[in-house]
């Protein structure tokens, strides 16, 4: 005991020791929050819905590798006459569209208020083609993969980043009918098994009741942008003190099995990014009765036929950020 007294009796020894402990604790918390992966649940394989026939354009999902996209487009151009004359068994794929007997997607690039944005207009014959996937097929914190990698793994025709659930410890997570997390207190987007969107307040609607009512996917990010056709965000609305203009990803429903997905570029000289109000106006203008904001910033990524459509950036460096999950259209 006397040795301890003597040791800490020397000037600055206590301060030095405690400083080191404090620095290590600080570093550990940051690593735990941002870096250390914590896998919790392995995703079980999902049942596969009706598959279209395998076409000469790719595999059963119509997915094509990025380096093969041009060739397919050329083939499609050559064979347009055949496609129009016969039932659309094979998907018709261009740089900005995809169409088969179950899925129709068109991508539009537009510019408004100094912001470049990308609009995917999606029509499905069945809600089961609107899917989600978790990075590395594992639920957990800091389990990450790029949107492109997840899209390729699941042979997605179209994909955008999801709500990045793995960056937080709260917020409902229900994916493809499986509940992974049921705590939270924010507005959540619920997609029913029939493909209908609704927004609920976590806590006031339990995950159990949502599942009982037919929920198939639940996202927790927000806020809701459009409800019942009305814009529900104002000019001052923001995502936890984030600045007004940002890269954004949001999804909306325009009708039965008709969806609009918008991704905006932002934080660059060329494109400043959308405010939530500007984003909401875009959805409302396109006839969406409901729209919901997903994770944005550096996470915002739109992938179509294996290629990144937008220009992902976090404002400091360009390129795709790894995220926890995606929303995608496909068969796998």
């Amino acid at each position: 005991m006397n040795r301890v007294r003597s040791f800490f009796g020397k000037p600055y020894r206590w301060a030095a020791m405690y400083g080191v402990i404090l620095a290590l604790a600080f570093a550990f918390v940051l690593l735990d929050a941002f870096v250390i992966p914590k896998a919790q649940i392995k995703v079980e394989p999902q049942s596969t819905p009706t598959q279209p026939e395998v076409s000469e354009y790719g595999d059963s999902a119509g997915y094509i590798a990025p380096d093969a996209a041009t060739d397919h487009t050329e083939k499609e151009d050559d064979n347009n006459a055949d496609v129009e004359e016969s039932p659309p068994v094979a998907p018709v794929i261009t740089d900005t569209s995809y169409k088969d007997e179950n899925i129709s997607i068109s991508i539009e690039t537009a510019r408004k208020n100094g912001t470049t944005f990308y609009v995917a207009d999606i029509l499905l014959s069945d809600a089961s083609y609107l899917k989600t996937a978790l990075a590395k097929n594992v639920f957990g914190r800091n389990i990450k993969q790029t949107t492109t990698a997840m899209a390729e793994e699941h042979q997605a025709i179209f994909a955008v980043n999801g709500d990045y659930y793995g960056f937080r410890d709260t917020g409902y997570v229900l994916r493809n009918g499986v509940s992974y997390r049921d705590n939270g207190n924010d507005d959540a987007l619920v997609i029913d098994g029939d493909g209908s969107f609704s927004v609920v307040r976590e806590g006031s609607a339990s995950m159990e009741s949502l599942v009982d009512d037919g929920a198939w996917q639940v996202f927790s990010f927000g806020p809701a942008l459009v409800l019942d056709g009305e814009i529900v965000v104002g000019s001052g609305s923001e995502v936890s003190k984030s600045k007004n203009s940002n890269p954004r990803t949001a999804i909306g429903q325009a009708g039965e099995l008709h969806y609009i997905v918008i991704v905006s570029d932002g934080r660059t000289q060329e494109s400043k990014g959308f405010s939530l109000l500007e984003l909401a106006e875009e959805f409302a203008g396109r006839g969406c009765s409901i729209a919901y904001n997903l994770d944005g910033g550096g996470s915002s990524t739109m992938v179509f036929n294996g290629r990144i459509t937008n220009n992902p950036t976090d404002g400091r460096r360009t390129g795709e950020r790894e995220v926890s999950d995606i929303v995608y259209i496909g068969y796998e």
Partner: protein, 143 residues
């Protein structure tokens, strides 16, 4: 435990160091904001208050009101714990700010604030404990 001969120059110097730390906190907050895409955190914006209000202000008062503190047991421990508490609260506020700005959270955040307040409180109580007239550390004569 050794005791500390707290005199005016020493308390005044500590107050000055805390003032510098407070200014450093303001600088860190503003530099971090440059890279935060406009996102700010109340925790980080106010972290300079810990060294200012719990460090500089009380030490300045101490140097004025109690220019000489009688050596006694636990005095060094009291100051060590109190200073550690202020440091923990400041670092905890910075940590809260970093996590808030990133849009995430950690289960360990409350531990920093709880530890900081407990250390500061115990240090303060130890400082208030009157000298029982018992033994003092011989080394206190030359702190």
């Amino acid at each position: 435990m050794s005791t500390l001969d707290m005199n005016r120059p020493r308390s005044g110097r500590t107050a000055f160091i805390y003032l510098l730390l407070s200014a450093a906190c303001i600088a860190v907050t503003n530099i971090y904001a440059l890279f935060g895409h406009g996102v700010r955190s109340a925790s980080m914006d106010t972290m300079f208050l810990y060294p200012l209000l719990m460090g500089a202000a009380p030490y300045l008062l101490l140097s004025i009101l109690l220019p000489r503190i009688r050596r006694r047991r636990f005095l060094r421990l009291a100051f060590n714990l109190y200073n550690s508490g202020v440091a923990t609260l400041t670092v905890g506020a910075m940590l809260n700010g970093i996590l808030e700005i990133a849009g995430t959270a950690s289960a360990y955040q409350p531990l920093f604030m709880a530890t900081g307040w407990i250390f500061a409180f115990i240090g303060f109580i130890l400082f208030l404990i009157p000298d029982s007239g018992g033994r003092t550390d011989k080394k206190a004569k030359n702190p």
